[in-house]
Every structure is written in C-alpha cells, then in structure tokens.
C-alpha cells in the first residue's frame, strides 16, 4: 500500500508541476488542482496508513490512540480542502478578469513572441 500511495502522490505532483509551469491560465488552474490533491494526500499520509480505524471514539472505555487513525492530519486536510476551493475560485476570477482586460489567456497578460 505504501508504495502505491507514494507513487500516486509523486505522479499527481509531477503532473501538477508540469501544468503550473505552462503559459496558459487554464493549465495553471488545473495544475493547482492536481498539486493540491498531491499535497493534501502528502499531509494526510504523515498520519500513516490505517485501515478500518476511523477516528470515531464511540466506545468510552476504549480511548487508546492505537485503535484509531491519526485525527490531526485529517483535520488539517479537511480545512485545506475547503480553503483550496476558495483559492481556486479566486484564481479563476482573477484569470477571467485578466483575460477580459488583456484579451489573452496567457498568464502574463500578453502573448510572447515565440508563442507556445
């Protein structure tokens, strides 16, 4: 399982980095989405892999941490996901505004001579 997760995070991250370095604003926004998956997963796995141990302490008599998945990275990631949505929206609006003002969807607001 470890190797699958590690590879998955790496591939998502690599795809994201590739896209973030592209010149078109839509590519960058897609890249940011992929990067946020990768980073969220990365933060999440710092709590290690736990199967069938959701952090729900329903039994008052069993409060042993070994019985549950680490709740801390989960809480961090939960808020990160929601904030990620907000920043995506902000970026999208800036992107659209820039496109309306400059007439191009290049991230710098102007086409380069050697257009990609």
């Amino acid at each position: 399982m470890e190797i699958i997760l590690a590879l998955a995070i790496g591939i998502l991250f690599a795809s994201g980095v590739w896209l973030v370095l592209r010149p078109r604003s839509f590519q960058v926004i897609t890249g940011l989405l992929l990067l946020s998956y990768a980073v969220n997963l990365f933060i999440f796995i710092t709590g290690r892999i736990s199967l069938n141990k959701p952090p729900l302490t329903l039994d008052e008599t069993a409060l042993d941490p070994a019985l549950y998945a680490d709740p801390l990275p989960q809480a961090l990631v939960l808020t990160a996901i929601v904030i990620g949505f907000a920043t995506t929206a902000l970026y999208l609006v800036v992107l659209l505004g820039s496109r309306g003002l400059t007439g191009t969807d290049h991230v710098d607001g102007k086409e380069k001579e050697t257009d990609e």
Partner: protein
Amino acid sequence: MLLLSLILLPFLGAAVAACMPQHARNREAWFAAIIALCGLLLTLSQYAVISEGTALRYQLNWLSAFDLNLIFRMDGLAWLFSVLIQGICLLVVLYARYYMSPKDPVPRFFAFLLAFMGAMQGVVLSGNLIQLVMFWELTSLTSFLLIGYWHHRPDARRGARMAFTVTSIGGLCLLVGVLLLGHVAGSYDLDQILQQAEQIKAHDWYLPILILIALGALTKSAQFPFHFWLPHAMAAPTPVSAYLHSATMVKAGVFLLMRLWPVLAGTPEWTWIIGTAGVCTMLIGAFLAIFQHDLKGLLAYSTISHLGLITCLLGIGTPLAMVAAIFHTLNHATFKASLFMAVGIIDHETGSRDMRKLSGLRRVLPYTAALAIVASAAMAGVPLLNGFLSKEMFFAEALMVGSASNWWMSAAAVMMGIFGVAYSLRFIQVFFGPLQTDGGEEVHEPPRWMRFPVELLVLCCLVVGILPELSIGILLEAAAASVLAEQLPEYSLAIWHGFNLPLTMSIIAFIGGIVFYRWLQLKCNLRQRDKVPLFHRLNGKESYEATMLWLAASAARLERSLSSRRLQPQLLLLILAGMAAGAVLLWFMPTVPAQLTYTPIHWPFALLWLAGTACAIAAAWQAKYHRLAALILVGGTGIVTSLTFLWLSAPDLALTQLMVETVTTILLLLGLRWLPARISAKKLQLIASSRDKLRRSRDLLIAISSGVILSVVSYLILIQPENQTISRFFIENSLPLGGGSNVVNVLLVDFRSFDTLGEITVLSIVALTVYALLRRFRPAAESIKLPPQQTNPIDPASIQTPAEQAGSGYLQVPGIYIRLLLPIIIVVSVYFFMRGHNLPGGGFIAGLIFAVGLIIQYLLAGTAWVEARLKMQPHRWISVGLGLAVVTGLGAWVFGHPFLTTHTAHIYLPVLGELHLPSAFIFDLGVFAVVVGTTMLILTALAHQSVRSHRVPGANPDATNLQQEDR
C-alpha cells in the same frame, strides 16, 4: 492612574475632536483647551509630590516575560516637560482659534494637535524604553500630519515628507539603540537601566548604543547634519510651528539625551559626538539665520542654533552644564513660542512674512511690536531677560571646557552670541523704519485674545529674567535633581555675579553683534542678498532629495535585475526552492526504520490509483487544447482521492473532498465559457520552435524530478513507525472533554475552533473578493456572444429559456426528479450536520451538501427561474454565520472562560429525547452558514455574468433578442 489619564485624555480628546462639526471653531477650541487645561491642572497638582524628589510610577503588566510592560513614571524632569507641553498647548490652542481661517477644516487640526500632545506626553512620561520609542514615532507621525495640514500646498507636502523621513529614520536607529541598551542592561525599565550606568559604559556595545541613540536624538532635534528638515517644516500653520518646532517636538531629542544622561554621558565619546554636533549646529544655525528673508525661516534657523546650544551643553557633560541645558530648554520654549506667535500675527495681518517687503510695523502693530522686541531681546540674551541667564551659564561652562590654554570652545560660544545678536536685530528690523506692508489693506492689531498667549509668554521671560530664583529656581532644582541625583551641583540663579569672564563675553557678543550687523547691512546689502555667504553650497535639502531619488532609482534597478513580472520564472523558482527543501529533507531522513512495517497491498486500491494517476497525466497532457476533457479528468483524480480517504479511515475527508470536487467542477465549468477558443497546433500546422521544445523538456525534467523527490519522501515517511504527537491528547479527550466521538469534528469546532474561526473568515473574505472582482468584470469581446451550441437553429432547445427546457423541453425528466431531490438533499444535509459531532459530518460537509442541492437547481432551470422563487442573499448567510461563530466564542466570556471555550448543555425534548447540545454545536452552525454563503456567493456571482454580459453594448443583436425572450 493619574499618569495614565494624562496620556489617554489627549488621545480620547483627539478622537472626539475629529468627530466634531466642520465649522464649529469656537467649540473645537474650547474643547481642546479644556483637555489641555485638565492635563495641566492634573500635572500641577502633583507639584508637591514631585518637588520632594519622589517619582510617580504606574505599571500595567503586559508581556512581563519579555519585559514589555506599560510603565509611566513622572519625576522632576518629566514633570517639567509635561507642564511645558501642556501649558504651551493651551496657549497654542487659544492662539489657533484666531489664527486658523474659517475655511480651514479645524476639527482635523485640533484632533492632530491633541494627538500630538498625547504622543509627546507619552515620550516624557514613559518608564519603558520600547514604549518611549513607540510614542517617539507617534510624535513623528502626528507632526507629519500637522506639517502637511494644508495638504493642497506642495511645499507643505514636501516639508512634511522630509520631516517624517528624517525623524523616522532617526527613530529606527533609536529603536535599535534602545534594544541594544535593553539587552546590555537586562531590562527596558528605565529605573533599572539608570542604576546600571557603570556596566553600560564599560560594555563593548557602548559605542554603537551611543551612536544609534544619538542619531535618534539628533535627527529629532534637527542637529547638524540633519538640521535641514526644520526650515522646510515651516510650511506648517504657525501655531504648529510655535508648538512643535520651538517648544516641544524638537525638544524630544534633547529630552532623550537628558533622560539617558546618567547612563551615557561622561565619556570622551559622548563629548565628541554630542558636543561636536552641538557646536556645529549652534554656529551654522545662527549664521544661516542672519541671511534668511522669511521671518519663520529666521526663527527656524535660530531654533536650530539654540537646540545646538542645548546639545552642546549636554555634550560638555558636567552637572552644571546639565542644569544650564534644562534651564535653557525652558527659556527657549517661552521666548521662541512667543516669537513664532508674533510672526503669525504679522503674517495674519499683513499677509506676508518676507522681511524684504515689511518694515515700520511698529506704527500699525504697536503692542505686537513691543512684545516681539522683548522676546527677541531674550533670544539675543539681553540682561533682565531669561535668555541672558542661561546664556551666561553656557559661557561659564564653555570657559571650563579644556584648560585655560584651550579657548576654542569659548570662541565658538562668543561667535554664537555675536550671530545671535545679529539675527535678533535683523528680526526686529521689520518693526522700524518707514511703514511698508505687502498687501494694500489696512493693517491693525489682532484680536485681544490672539495676543494674550504672546503677552503671557513674554511676561514669563521677564519674570524669570528678573526674579529667577523665586520663579523658576525650585522647579529647575527638582528637574535637575531627578537626572543628576546626588551629583546636583551648587549653582546660583542670580542676575549679577559680579564682573567676571562670562559677563565680559556677553558684552563682547553684544558689541560684536551690533557691529557685525551694521557691517553686513552696509557692505553686504543684507536686506536684498539672496545667497548665504560661505554656506550656500551646504544644501541639506538638495542632498536629501538626491539621496531619495537615488534610493528610488536603485530600488527600481534592483527590482528590474533581480525580479521578474512574469509568472512562469517566479513559479519555476518557487518549485526549484521546494525541490531543494525536499532534497535536504531526504538527506536528513532516516532511511531504514527500526522494523519495516508494510501494509499488504489491496489490489482494488492499486487499480483505483492506476485510474487516478492516468487521469492526472491525461489532464496534464490535454489541459491546453481540450479544457473540458481536462476538467473531467481532474475530477476523476479527485474522486479517486476522495475514495482513498475513505479507504484509509478518513470518512470526513472523503465526504468533504467529494462535495468540494462537485462545486469546483461546477465553478470551472462556469468559467470555461469566458476563455478563448483554442485550436490545436496540429490543425494550424504550427511547428514548435527549438526554444519551446527546450523549455518543454526542461519543465518535464523538473516535473518528473519533483515528483520523484516527493514520492521518495512520502515513501520514507510511510515506512517510519508512528510518532507520538498531540493526536494522542485529542483522541483521549475528545469524548470526555469535547463531548463528541468524531475526533476530527471536535478538533475543528472545539479544540482548535479559533483556527476554524480564522478559516471561515478567510473563506468569507475570498467570497466577497470574488464577488467584488466580478462586479467590474468585463469579458473579452469575442466571448460575449452566446456560444454556438446555444444558437443552433436546428436544436429546438435553443429557442427555449432554461426554465422552459426544464419544464416542458428535453430536460423534463431530470427536471422532475432534481426538483424532487431538493428537500431530500436538505434533509440529508441536516442529518449530516446533526450527527457531525459523533459521526462523520459537521458544518463543512453539511454546508457543502446544502449548497450543492441548491446549485443543481440553478443548473437545471437557469438563474432566472431559481431566483424568481428563492431569495438566497448569500451575503446574509456569511454575516450570520460569522456572527454566530463569534458570538458563541464571546459567550464563553460571560461564564468567565477564555474566548471560544465550549460549554455543554443537555436539553430534553418531548419526542426526540435527550439532546446533547454543546456550544460548539452553535459554532458549527456558524461554519455551516458561512460555507453555504460563500459557496453560493461565488457560484452565483459567476453564473450571473452569463446573464449580465448581454447587456454590454455592442453585443450580438441576436443574443440580445434571445435574452429578451428569456424574460
């Protein structure tokens, strides 16, 4: 408490004065005067305590561990300065009542003036050095506002900026100096620092401390070579000049040197730095003053010179010089403030301050002339006036410097005396000779009460000059004793000390001054001369301007050479830095764990990620030419991520990710419409240049290597045994303390609810920003038209409104069940919300579910249809949500607990049974409302653009018709 009120009163007064009506000159002035008077009376009432030599002290602990406490202390010196500050403020307020024109915005003036007074009080009463620096900066700031009061005038703006730049640079130096001093002394408490004089002087850092603090004091007190800002600050209204630039602010530097005198003075370095600056300033200021044409300019340079004299006395460093310095500070404040006010009267009545255009004013302004002549006599040091006494003391001290053979200091002192007499003569010249005024109108004496402050100050000059011991002796002693403690020297304030050397020097100065002035008049055409001899090249203003220009230019150059406005290189650098950090991490990570613990591979999970990563790679590949496809592919990866969370025991995350995935996809779909059509390079038969290919390979390389690094780091983390973190606490206490079994939710709304409060605030800000940005949104011309899919004449749907499509058109079937779904989704949302504390769910998830339920109605039947039936007003949801969260937090205060402490109540309801209701539940309700509000605000604001854009002029007429049919 009394000390605190002395500081708070002016600031509160400033706030009130700022709110008063524009034209209530009298009320404003009365109000400000009452504030100043209250302060003055409070201060005076402490006279008995202070004169006994005890210091008042008030301490309010803040960060005691860092020695940052609010300390106010009042000893003799602070008391004297405090009386000076408040007393002159009172007179200046009275004067300003008549001076300010009815057209000026007076509330602003009095508000700034009171704020300045408060800041100045803060400087003199601070018992903590950091606090002193803070008030010090505040005086710079308020004086900036006061100098720039007539902000429509360019010279006022420039003067204000210059004064602010110079004094605040000094203030920064002072801050560093004070930090070093506090470090050496082990405390920022003034009382403790003053007891460690020996250790500080012996310390290695003594010299840097001295230089930095001296820089602060010298810039503030306009000492050479920083003196140039003061003449330019004369663009301020005259009451401001009288208050700030004669009596108070410029004295702050001197005050600081006096305050730290016991700690820093008495070394050769001190004498050299402070003394040299003082002597240079004193001579240059006095010399330049002679050649001014502007009356205020003359007074400004004379102020510089007198401040130089005080600094010089402090530099000499003997206890007697200290007494003389305090004495002269007081004397200078009285005669210089009265002279400034007299100039203000002249300016006010004649409309000019130019000495070339004015003469014979004695005939029309007899009283003012008499007062000004007496005050300038005090400035020149004529016997029977206060200026004479302190100047005699200065001469006496100058004689003591060095030995009998070293007479340089004495020569400088006499020279200063000669110049002082000369510029005083130049000043009173405007009152003599034939009558000549600038304007044509009748010149007459000012109103009675406008002259009153001048009269009072001149009276002080006379009383102190004639009866020094009786009038000022005891005050001076208390002030000097508070600095010098047991070193207080024997001194006598008598007028007549017998015929001795200082008196001879005075006489030489007088005769020399008169002769020098006559000579200048006859030989150098002083009255019309434009250039200052010898010193006209010494132009502080020009070098200041040049420095500022150079700084701005080099900053721009640096920015050009080091940074880029282009996004790609910036992102590249960011990613490379991240990679470097990852590589460093790898270097330090233990590669082989104690025991390898692998989880066996689940093959379905592997297949899932095969799909997930394939989606990601395909999205990366397609994002340029096939945006919709890329969006769908990214969504695929998102679903896989969500399933992964579910698989790995994080049900809350899985739910959140799933819902966010949904709204993000809708969001991007709404945005796609505004992006330009992109035809693939293959169709256009474009061939990528070799440079592009090179860049692509470089980016690919970076992407792959960063992926590899993150993979390896993740893998190494995963095979480490679990660490002990604070998670243990959360798991063990979530149920007993937080009252909920869902640890993640309890973490969010209880243990770390302050973080969550911050997060929902950010969410709200982002949503409002998005909304605000979209209000000004102007789409590109080619995307204004309706897309071809919607105008296809063969498609019957293209002539229907979205509502018709859903009602009777091709969307009839989904129309029925999606509308049916709305109440179900709301119930589901409520269900997830209610169980959130104990089972997966909570405000975030429920809010997202609720928002999605509404959004699909929009998707189905269009904006117009939904909004005709549902007034959503997401702004209100946001404000209600934030309000609920904050009120819940504040509620804890009612019970005496810290902010956001959770309180649990158990309520018994008839049908539902016992309800477990912690206050975190209400907090979570706030979160829920904010999430619904932000999501809806963002999405609907974006959706409205499609409806709105057709109104843009020049849009396709067909589209406009369609739009009309829409209604």
